[in-house]
Structures are given as structure tokens and as C-alpha cells.
Symmetry: C2
Subunit: 253 residues, 2 copies
Amino acid sequence: MAAKTDDSGPVLPPAIESAWGLRERPPKGPRPGMSVPGIVDAAVRVADTDGLAAVSMSRVAKELGAATMALYRYVGSKDELLMLMVDAGYGPSPGPHPPGDDWRAGLTRWAWAEHEVLRQRSWLLQVPITGPPITPQQLGWMEDGLRCLDGTALAEGEKMSVLLLVTGYVRNEATLTAQIAEGSRTAGVAPGEMMPAYGRLVARLIDPARFPALHRVLSSGALGQDDDPDDEFTFGLDRILDGVDALIQRRTG
Amino acid sequence: MAAKTDDSGPVLPPAIESAWGLRERPPKGPRPGMSVPGIVDAAVRVADTDGLAAVSMSRVAKELGAATMALYRYVGSKDELLMLMVDAGYGPSPGPHPPGDDWRAGLTRWAWAEHEVLRQRSWLLQVPITGPPITPQQLGWMEDGLRCLDGTALAEGEKMSVLLLVTGYVRNEATLTAQIAEGSRTAGVAPGEMMPAYGRLVARLIDPARFPALHRVLSSGALGQDDDPDDEFTFGLDRILDGVDALIQRRTG
DNA sequence: CCTCTCTGCGTATGGCGTACGCTGTTATGC
DNA sequence: GCATAACAGCGTACGCCATACGCAGAGAGG
């Protein structure tokens, strides 16, 4: 044994291995007419224009002028394709933060970068995540995030937890705004009228005696004004970073 | 007009209206052999035992000894059934917090209650959410959460934002732990060995020169020790509540 | 008793992911 | 130059899904 240095451990799907640049083309057989990146690009294009639901194996194949089953020479399953679509859809990480920035400015920039990606490709949120990230660009994002916390007194595990906290927040916020946008589209309501309409609906349903706190929020008109969604995002992000700040202070002092 | 007091506004699906106790049985025709709550219970039972993927209209019908299409007399679509499943799956809200508790203890209790529900019914996280909550129990949870913040100096809209922040965190954390549990099951790895195996896999993939921060986390063994998942949950929750606390202090002082 | 309305459900349609096996291409070893 | 083995492309088929449609029978009002 041990002719090769890696004892391999968990098995990586072939298409993922090729995303890492491992795996060379076998010497025999006809030349491939397609490529994994080409297939993934086509799938991303479909998702961008017609949504994730439109991404079927046959649709992607049609986009490439190939037959459905031809894709399975390159991709083991649709789930594998989805994983690669997420990797490609996120794109390259935003890059290391400027040396002058402190951790907070860096994480803010990092969070906004993901926010921006998810705003433009909300289908990324609908892809069922099957495990921790193992694709190159995903880990690139993680690396950049970790570097923001480099100078701090946090333990390595804590840095990871903080990142998970921030990215979780960004994804959650993006999910909510994408949902109300989707809802307003299917209901035929103007985007700015969605939350007010929701407020009126709930106000009609609930009994003020049984839901006093909810009733108070509704009468306050807090749902009526359609404030800048970016303000909402900033609000939550600042709360979280305040909490992280408190921890860093404690670890430092 | 205005023979009825409600100008109706957005239309509510019939099955949701019946969940609010509106809507009476029409006087004619044969008596219904099933009921919406019965169907929802059967669907929840299927999801509990065999996962959300096993919930198909035919499977739920089989559970009730009925034909597939019979369900459509009670539920407009599968999406509607899913919405009702979420409402039933969450169950009643945890109830108002004890009067002695401050907002932080209340929200902590509230977050743990949702955490517990999601731990036992992780399929709730896989249901694609189509909009803001409009079912009775969902709004009950919201009411209880809002009441925790009753005595604080926060504006009504801010209370709502804080709730969204907390519930988003709980859902996100539950999603991640459910995913690694799922992954360890499909990969045939012992649950405690999942994260270490993941760490070894990533360590094998990445180049330490290009991913120095990530490499440092991996060598620190932070992923190796399988610490209590509850500790991880508490960590993030405390960070968020610290951030909320900072805001409340500022609004108060 | 007729008629109207509602329930249960059989049938059919159009989609999906993908297992399997055939056909033709290509570089290697003889 | 030729047989051979490995591989690419893909046609067919299977089983599953949600659900549109329409018919048969139940039950109550007139």
C-alpha cells in the first residue's frame, strides 16, 4: 500500500475532483464534445434567466444542443451538477480586505459581497445544501472571511463560528427579501405594496385581544412604510457585528 | 357594498381560511369522509417517519386509505398542504414568558423552543417558504416573541427586526446541524466522525500557501473535536443577543 | 321524487431523474 | 495496417410525480 501518498479518506465525486484540477483525461476513446465547466455554465444560464425550477437535465442538454443522457458522461447526478452550479454561481471570492481595514470593515465588505451575489442570483438560496463546502470557490470565500479575523484575539474555532454566523445571516436575509419579491410577483402586487398588503391581511385575521403585541406592531405602521431593504440588512448586520465586537473585547482585555 | 365588513384585500387559500376557523360546511351534498386536520396530520406523520421527500399526494392518501385525487377536495395544491404541515409541525407557541424574566431570558427561551422543534422535525427546514407567515400557530410564535421585547425601548419595527434576526439564526443553525447529520448518514460515517473527516478532506484538497487562514483553522484541530452542538448554538445566540443588548442600551440611555 | 350540489376517485397528461445497452469513434499494442 | 479496448453520445424505457377533467353516487331541499 501507500504507493500514492493520500490514503484518500472520504470519496469525492469525480466532477468535484475535476473542479479541483485533479483528474486527467484518459488516453483512449473519442474526444469529449462537451466539458464540465461548459455544462455548468449552461445550467447557470438557465437558472439566471428562467429560475432554478427550469434547470432540468433535458433543458440543460437542449441548451447545449445535446441529448439528455449525454450529460451523465460528465456529471454523476443532478445533485452533483447543482453543487457545481453553486460554486460557479458564487463566483470568485471578493479578495482579501485592504490592509488598513480592521476586522469589522473587512467582515462588512465580505457580507455585502455575498449579499450582492445573492441579490443577483437568488436561485442560489433554493439549492438544497447537502453538506459543508468542498468546492474551490466556496472555500475561497471562507478563506477571505477568515483572513478578516486574522489580527483578533479569537480562537480558530471561534473565527469559524463567527463566519458561520455572518454568512448565515446574509443568506437568511436574502432568502426573506427574495421571498417577498417572489410573492409580490405571483400575487400581482407592486413590490412596494407587498408588505403593507401583508400587514392588512394579518390585521384582518387576528383578534387584537389574543395577539396584542402583534396588533401593536401592525397599528404602528411599521410594515406599511417600505423602507430601503439595504437599511434592514445593515440593521441586522450591525447587531451581529456588535455582538462579535463584545466577544473580541472580552477576549482581548 | 360593505354588506360584509371586510374589503377582503389579498385572497386567502380556502384551506388556510378553514385553519382560522372561518368557512362553514355547505348544507348540501354528502358528508365529507376526511378533514383538513386529518390530512395534515397524516402528512406530518409521513414526514416524521420517512422524511419530507416521502410526502407525496399519493403517499398521504394511502396513509388515509383514500385515493390520491380525493385529497384535492380539501387542499388546493401540494404547496397549500405543505404550508399547513409547517403550521402543524411547529405546534403551539411556547407561551408567554414568566413575568419575572427580562427580555433576554424570554428570547433565549423562545429561541430554544424553536431550536427544539427543529431538532425533532428537521423536515420543517426543507419546506420551501413561499412568503411571510399567515397561519395561526406561526403568528402565535411571533406574538410570543414580540411580547418578550414588550418592556424595552425598541421601536415596534425594531422588535420585528430583532425577532427576524433571532429566528433566522435558529433556523440557520438547525439547517447546518441537520445537514451534517444527513451527510454522515448517507456517507456511512459515525456522527461524531463527520466533522473530523470533513477537516481531513479539506486539508487534502487545499494548498496551504493559497489558503493559509483555512489551513491554520484545520491544523488547530478546531474541527476535530466534536463539541456539544448545544454549545455552538449557545455561542451564536449569545453573540446576537449581545448585539441586541447594545442596541437596547443605546435606545434606553 | 326530482334536482342540485358536493364527495370520492379513475383516467390521462406531461413532466421529471436516471438505469441500461447499443453504435460509432479513437488511440494504443501487435 | 489492423484488431482491440476504452470511451462518447444517446435512444429507449421505467417509475415516480402533481394535477386537470369528468363521471358516479350520496344526500338534502323543494
